[in-house]
Amino acid sequence: MSDLLPLAILLTSLGVAPVILALPDHWSRLRTALNLGAATIKVALVAWLSMAVASGADFGVGIAIAPGLSLELQADALSVLFLALSSVLWLLTTIYAVGYLEGGTDRSRFFGFFSLCVASTVGIAMAGNLFTFLVFFELLTLATWPLVVHRGSAEAHRAGRIYLIYTLGGGLALTLGTIWLYALAGDVPFTPRGVLGDLPETHRASVTAIFVLLIAGVGVKAALVPLHGWLPVSMVAPAPVSALLHAVAVVKSGAYGIMRIVYDVYGVDTVQALGLALPLAALAALTILWGSIRALRQDDLKKRLAYSTVSQVSYITLGVALISPLAAIGGLAHLIHQGIMKITLFLAAGNFAEARGVKTVSAMDGMGRLMPGTTLAFTIGALGMIGIPPLAGFVSKWYLGAGGLDVGQPAVIALLAGSSLLNAAYFLPILQRAWFRPPPEDVVPKRGIGWMLVAPPAVTAALVVAAGLLANAPFSPLGWTRFIVSLEYL
């Protein structure tokens, strides 16, 4: 029975997606009930699963597709990390989206694909082998496209086209790499410390090429420079979709893919033996700096946040690529930390736009006085990103820095310091405008926004504080990542 738990978690969103798609648009009550019901059940099931995994249970269920090819769902500690993030944030984002899209068009299509997106993310989190990962990774691309173009404008369609070109291109690289690896090594189950350790030396070149293909494939979604171009463009999508792209599903799937490939396909020892760790870390460092530098110049609030994501997601990659347990803890914890911080920022930015029509940094004057609650949430998210103690971002950066010293790379400290300075340089002016400048004379009159828009960023802001303050509690993101890292590095 409990072997079916991963399947049940997948079906909570995969099962409701077609039903929602088929509902007439004006049946909003039933649609909302289905959405929230499924999201709540999913959180409960994931909580159950986490308890079971923490006490050492194993879950696995699969079907054979072809000789040597099978779809496998499993749940290990790393899956739970991503599952917890996506299921909790899905619930909050759904509440937000219901409020945000009230009275809009094509809502059944929107929420149907929204569910499909989360189903794919959950499938990615619980993929038991590289093939299954690939299947859900591609499904995520397809399910997200209608959401990116949801507004239907020419600009949205342009963004959608760019999104599709990047992600399908990445998907091709990932597909080629995966098939090649299967041709060399047979089935590639995700196994702690990797499965390629004992591949003969003659395959060294192929295995290196495959690594490049796989990382390039997932690197598109993880927005690694120079594969990040789609992310800032996609900010034309509605706010809940931005939350999905930046925090819940898409970039996170890319980062999660990098973890799985480095840890559970190749294994840290093999990655290091092939000499691939340092280039990956260098690419992550470049992305961290480049994203921040580009963020400085954006006046469009969501675009600034988007470039900030480019930069921040690469902390995760950096933590993985440094091949040090301490850095790994920082990187893995940042998967959660960046998620809750960035969703807070995007939902708050959505509220600024909805309530006051504020979409640019230069229009933020006096927002602290006009919308104190939302601005406070935004502030917590921003300070967390900069890495002010005791917020969540500080914890990630602390461990990343310690990991850098651990492997004898003090340059990491310089990188973190530089990046934090840049973070401050693009976030503090926003906060300064919001809190210390008076509202403009011709301020746009407030449009009422309901609790469904106000509550989610408040909750996630509280999580940002809690993840930092209670970092040492056993079920905190940090506590859980320590548990994972003990499995990968022992």
């Binding site: 072809a66 000789p67 098939i179």
Partner: protein, 475 residues
């Protein structure tokens, strides 16, 4: 009588009945199609349980009599035709479909004759039988093309007839030469044919005939016009099934050792690659939906032909499985696509791609079916098209055939490009769609298209079944 003889005689008998009385054509046609599907399932189950079946008609053994051989491959193909047939029959039976498209006096007998001929073709174990069933199939298919009776359709049907006759002539010549060379036409003589010059010429003629009938580049000239001007139900049958019959025979011959010669295999793969590029290019530029879908068939036939060309026959156990899976995937997805296009054109009154957006009322279900079918044709997971491409590429990588890998990927990129042209327009809400605007009612045709599209999707997850069946051969 066994399932094998029933599954040939029942549709042919029903064809005669429906031709005789237009009044009962629809119910008889539907019942016969459903019964055929049930028989196909029974046959596949028997093959799975008991292994390949050999039926000697009238108790006469080869070489004098006619034998039907049901191995796993035949069972898979018969199932494929049966499932596509059910969906097409459902759309064709919808009362409100324009009269001209499915005049029961014409559609049902033609469809049932097509079905019976195809079943016989899949079961045939000798060259002459293959030729005869091809003739029945070809004539019924020309009838299907001409069904709407429009000028364009009639001209396309005439071109199709001419091309089909040329193909048949080549085929007949090849079979006659093979008979002269080997003294019998049983498929077991095929390996011997590759050894003599005369035999090799006969095989080359047969393959040339098949290439015409399969619309393999550069002999595809007749096909886009025929498939794009026929009624949607007819296009679905022509594109999804009739073209497959020729590919099937090519596969059957190659499994029996018929394309042992390297040049022939390379030619097939190269023609396939050419078809992928040529068909995709034209699909990218097509202005009408049906034309785009028809050109996509040229490209997809190319992919299958490439898979056949690089698979070195029965000795290699997996690569030709990829070709079969791609055939199945294409059959389901392309039939779904033509049925969906039929519904879209019916609702909008046209099938111009540029006019797909900004409509007040849009056939949402049909557009969704089109999109799902597109996912299969591109070969994205978890569809059957994806599994087929996976097996193909893994096999190609295994033998370091990187040029073919690159070509398959190029074909994939192109198919994503031309199909997203359509799907992206379907996503355009535009300001004209009022909230809660009335959408067209669901119709039987929508269900048929969506059902087939979803089958193509789910077949990827259930690929274990066709793979298990394909392992079963006559020993």
């Amino acid at each position: 009588m066994t399932e094998a003889s029933l599954i040939v005689s029942l549709p042919l008998l029903a064809a005669v009945v429906t031709a005789a009385s237009a009044r009962v054509a629809r119910p008889v046609g539907l019942i016969a199609t459903a019964a055929n599907a049930a028989l196909a399932i029974l046959l596949a189950r028997r093959v799975l349980a008991e292994g390949a079946q050999v039926t000697h008609l009238g108790g006469w053994e080869a070489p004098l009599g006619i034998a039907f051989e049901t191995d796993g491959l035949a069972a898979v193909m018969i199932l494929m035709a049966a499932i596509v047939g059910v969906a097409v029959a459902v759309q064709a039976s919808d009362d409100r479909t324009p009269r001209s498209a499915t005049d029961p006096g014409a559609f049902w007998p033609l469809w049932l004759a097509t079905l019976g001929a195809m079943n016989a073709l899949f079961l045939s174990a000798d060259l002459f039988n293959l030729y005869v069933t091809f003739e029945i199939l070809g004539l019924a298919a020309v009838g299907l093309t001409a069904l709407t009776g429009t000028r364009r359709a009639l001209r396309a049907a005439f071109d199709y007839l001419s091309a089909g006759l040329a193909g048949s002539l080549l085929l007949l010549l090849g079979v006659a030469l093979a008979y002269a060379a080997a003294g019998q036409v049983d498929l077991s003589v095929v390996p011997a044919l590759t050894e003599s010059a005369q035999g090799r010429i006969s095989l080359a003629l047969i393959f040339a005939g098949l290439a015409v009938k399969a619309a393999l580049f550069p002999l595809h000239f007749w096909m886009p016009a025929a498939h794009s001007s026929a009624a949607p139900v007819a296009s679905a049958l022509l594109s999804a099934l009739v073209v497959k019959a020729a590919i099937y025979v090519a596969l059957r011959l190659s499994l029996d050792g018929g394309i042992g010669a390297e040049p022939l295999r390379v030619a097939m793969a190269a023609a396939g690659a050419g078809a992928m590029l040529w068909g995709s290019w034209h699909a990218l530029r097509a202005d009408r939906l049906k034309l785009l879908v028809a050109h996509s068939t040229v490209a997809q036939v190319g992919l299958i032909s490439l898979a056949l060309g690089v698979a070195p026959g029965a000795a290699d156990s997996t690569l030709w499985h990829a070709a079969v899976l791609l055939m199945l995937s294409h059959a389901f997805a392309k039939a779904a696509m033509f049925l969906a296009v039929g519904r879209i054109a019916e609702e909008l009154g046209h099938d111009r791609i540029s006019g797909l957006n900004r409509e007040e009322l849009r056939p949402g279900a049909a557009e969704f079916a089109f999109a799902v079918a597109a996912v299969s044709l591109i070969g994205l997971p978890p569809t059957a098209g994806f599994v087929g491409k996976w097996v193909l590429i893994e096999g190609l990588i295994d033998r370091d055939a990187w040029i073919w890998v690159a070509l398959v990927f190029a074909g994939t990129v192109l198919s994503a490009a031309y199909l997203s042209r359509v799907v992206s327009r379907c996503l355009r809400g535009g300001p004209h769609v009022a909230p809660g605007a009335r959408r067209p009612q669901w119709r039987a045709g929508d269900v048929a298209a969506l059902g087939l599209a979803v089958s193509a999707l789910l077949l990827g997850l259930g690929s274990a079944l066709p793979f298990a069946l394909l392992e079963i051969t006559v020993t």
